[in-house]
Amino acid sequence: MNGNNTLRQMRPVLVFAFIGVVFMFVAPYVLQLFTIINLTTAIALAVLALSLALVWGYGGILCFGQVAFFGLGAYAYTIAAINFGGSTWAILVAIMVASAFAALLGYFVFFGRVSDVYLGVITLTVTLIFFSLIRRTSGPEYKIGNALMGGFNGITSPPLNLPWDTSSFLFPEHVFYVAMAALILCYVFCGWLVTTHFGRVCVGIRENELRAELLGYDSRLYKLGIFTVSAGIAAIGGVLFCNGVGRITPDVFNLYNAALTIIWVIVGGRGTLIGPIAATFGLFYLTSALGGQSVLNNNLVLGVILIFFVLLVPKGVAPTLTDWFTKRRKPRRANRRRRRSQVNKA
């Protein structure tokens, strides 16, 4: 357990990553193009869920506005790609912009030692202000370089191209590969990060901030660090999202999407990375299925799910399942140990 073998600790992460790689290569042969394009959007959202799973589930930072970094990344990518005429540097710009904004916001809230409930409300407020701010940018005077902001209609996002080759654009099936690869890499990165010294200190701060301070760790810096990193990951999700959908609109910042992100992590479980990813795919297909009918409103269903989980399954699905399995296995293991010690005595 003492960081003696990073590989061993990361075994579950690597197993899931392997399953992901297999899926990535098999899916285009079994699924229709339409499904693949849809899947790309879901993958982008899963990256967003992963970023919140990291900052909330491991860092204990109640960020209700993770979608702000996602949207900021998407907007930054789109604007940069239009201006640069290529996507390579635009991706980097997207990550930098979202991380820099998170670092700035994080400086104020963490160094002000704002409590976690306030933090949730502030990050949500920031998101909603982005929403109303960008919605009002419909006039021709609102442009950054060559990119018109477009108000509530949003901007068409230039597609990804091969690195440093602005003439070869990727087709939707290729974007799927890129998205899937990005998700797997981000997942392995997060899985590795939480086994490092930095990651464990963050978990320690989540468990007891005063104790971490008493051990000599500056909790503000660690929180700022994980907050910034997770914003960068959310931005990667944003880049994939606007590529999957083809455009980016201010609706990405609305209350519904902010809530959705929280719900993925609540349902999947805090303190796990794969749970929220799985929950994203599950809920993505549930809401698309519900979109086809008009009896049950999406908001209504999500509201019921959120209340249900907070009241009855507060840990989320993945940790509850793990608990259940370990509880079943524990007596057996204890029996085995008892038997072994009896043998030793004999």
Partner: protein
Amino acid sequence: MDLVVAVLFQLVYGIANLALISLGLAIIFGMMRVINLAHGEFLMLGGYTVVVATNAGVNIWIAMLILAPLVVGIIGVIVERLLIRWLYGRMVDTLLATWGLSLLLIGLVTSIFGASTATTISPPLGIIRLGDYSASGYELFLIGVTIVLFIAVFATLKMTKLGLVARGTMQNPEMSSALGVSTTQVYMVTFGLGAAVTGLAGGLLAPVTGVLPTIGATYIAKAFITVISGGASILAGTAAGSILLGGINGIFAFITGPTIGEVALLVAAIILLRLMPRGITGRFFRKSL
């Protein structure tokens, strides 16, 4: 001169508006330490109550001043009984549960009334002339109502037995339980009152803003930062937060337009929290109501 009066009037109206939409949230937060993320939807329900009632032929004043607070207050009590009371002391879970409630209410209202604007009501009261400038009589009325509402809440907290008990319970729940005061009842009534004040605000604003199932989102950002900047004292906090942020918003909006006004409001609030993490009343006027 007239311009100055008109600008000042807009500034005061902006501040009153902020105070009006925040007061119900502040009551619930100040007394119960619960941040109600469904606050915007309580405002929305107040608006719908007025629209439905006036469509049914009820006088608009009765609909706004009596029915809206009554209906939303009752909804508040029901919500407290069914949802909030399971989660006392778990601030984060309360936050999440009320967010679920917010989605649920949006979904419910959309299913019943549809996603687009219900019939709009035009604001009663005409135009008031200020020399060369004209101001809306209804806006003046809203400023008046906000002031009266503050006085009423102050009187309730300060002079009634309910207020005394409520303040005692908020400061020390165990002590009050030991004195034979039912904490559960106090929380229920407080939540109901907060909801009623919110419903009243939503009803009063319905003629100005119109109603939509998702209109809550436009209110809550401002209400949250007002209450958080203000801190835990209900009246002093809301007043201080509204004056400071409403003032900044108004001045920036006057100079550069409404978009920047809202951003300035947020930036001011975040800088304020860096300096005073527990809000203005966490630092100053700590003993105030």
